[in-house]
């Protein structure tokens, strides 16, 4: 292990930090401190489900906080087939 470290020069802390950042972004979105995000997510999911058959795990709602602003990101992954027909009918769907 030490030899491996000497050869690769890899430190473990940066990896720990990266894994935590990814994990916590996701967990904060699902357990949300105020419940706002999970409530938003449920509502958004319900509205989308009226028109498109979308799997619950394909809807991601996150809040990114920076020093000055907080950005609410809503990421909805819809099936290719649905996206194509939607564009065909000109209803404003844009394939990501």
């Amino acid at each position: 292990m030490k030899l491996f470290r000497l050869l690769t020069g890899r430190r473990s802390a940066p990896l720990a930090r990266e894994r935590l950042q990814i994990l916590l972004t996701h967990e904060r979105a699902t357990t949300g401190s105020s419940g706002l995000i999970s409530a938003l997510r449920e509502d958004i999911l319900r509205v989308i489900a009226k028109h498109v058959d979308v799997a619950p795990e394909k809807v991601e709602v996150t809040v990114r906080n920076s020093d000055e602003v907080a950005v609410l990101e809503i990421d909805v992954e819809i099936p290719q087939a649905v996206a194509r027909t939607a564009i065909g009918r000109g209803r404003g769907w844009v394939a990501a």
Binding site: A13, A16, Q21, E27
Partner: protein
């Protein structure tokens, strides 16, 4: 004006009880009237760390249920006059604690003390939420290690939703106490750095407690580390943190808990 402080973490074994005892003792040593309250019903340990395990007659549940007067359950520290302990019950479980009982008990403690320090049990269940419920301020104890940081993040979420302050739309003040920090390993890049943890959790830093054998030694003796060896690195770090709690501006130092021959000699002499 009393301040109710909860010492919490989510994860077990990160140093909540050690920190409760050390901060409580440091505040009391500074002349403040302090009570440390063990909320870990069924798994109490604050009495043991404080060296008062043989003096517990009545506990938090007896007081919360109104079986005895607060005065009967408070245990006065034998070393510092202004330091008191309210132990948890060892024979009951956490369901024996009612929210209304805790509210009444905390309200009564507020009348008597400058600082009410609640030692939270690990986890996010009833015991932990009751310990934080009536707090004005939270100290989040975190080790520079992935599982501890993750659990602290979860606890910060609970502090912002489950406390009375949060329910009333007020901002809950949260401070980070980074414990078991090893300067050498962090410097080598094999331990999350202070900046890493601060950036991830984004709450202000109260103090950095170094990994140190003095902490175990103090608990063996049944004394808060600030009393067992006041000159040791963790004791000084806790004393600085207690001064910051009192509003003093104390420069943040990154302590080194490893003992060299010199610190060992001076540490022993001062003890």
């Amino acid at each position: 004006m009393a301040e109710v402080l909860v010492v919490t973490s989510g994860k077990g074994g990160v140093g909540k009880t050690t920190s409760t005892a050390a901060l409580g003792a440091a505040l009391a040593q500074a002349g403040q009237n302090v009570v440390v309250v063990d909320f870990d019903v069924g798994l109490r340990n604050l009495d043991l760390v404080m060296g008062a395990e043989r003096r517990v007659v009545y506990d938090l549940i007896n007081v919360a249920n109104g079986d005895v007067k607060l005065q009967q359950a408070l245990i006065r520290d034998k070393r510092i006059e202004t330091l008191y302990l309210l132990a948890a019950s060892q024979t009951r479980d956490k369901d024996a604690l009612s929210e209304e009982g805790v509210r009444r008990c905390i309200a009564e403690l507020r009348q008597r003390f400058d600082w009410v320090i609640c030692d939270s049990p690990a986890g996010i269940e009833r015991g932990a939420t009751l310990a934080m419920r009536y707090a004005d301020l939270a100290v989040v104890v975190t080790n520079p290690e992935v599982s501890s940081v993750r659990d602290s993040d979860r606890i910060i979420g609970l502090l912002d939703s489950k406390t009375l302050k949060a329910a009333q739309g007020e901002r809950m003040e949260k401070l980070l106490l980074l414990t078991r920090y090893d300067k050498v390993r962090a410097g080598r890049g094999d331990m999350l750095s202070i900046d890493d943890v601060l950036e991830i959790l984004s709450i202000p830093l109260l103090g950095i407690i170094p990994e140190s054998e003095e902490v175990l030694r103090a608990s063996n003796l049944g004394a808060p580390v600030t009393l067992a060896n006041a000159q040791s690195a963790p004791a000084r770090a806790y004393t600085d943190a207690a001064r910051r709690l009192q509003g003093e501006s104390v420069p943040m130092t990154i302590p080194n808990g490893r003992q060299t021959l010199l610190t060992r000699l001076f540490g022993r002499r001062a003890a």
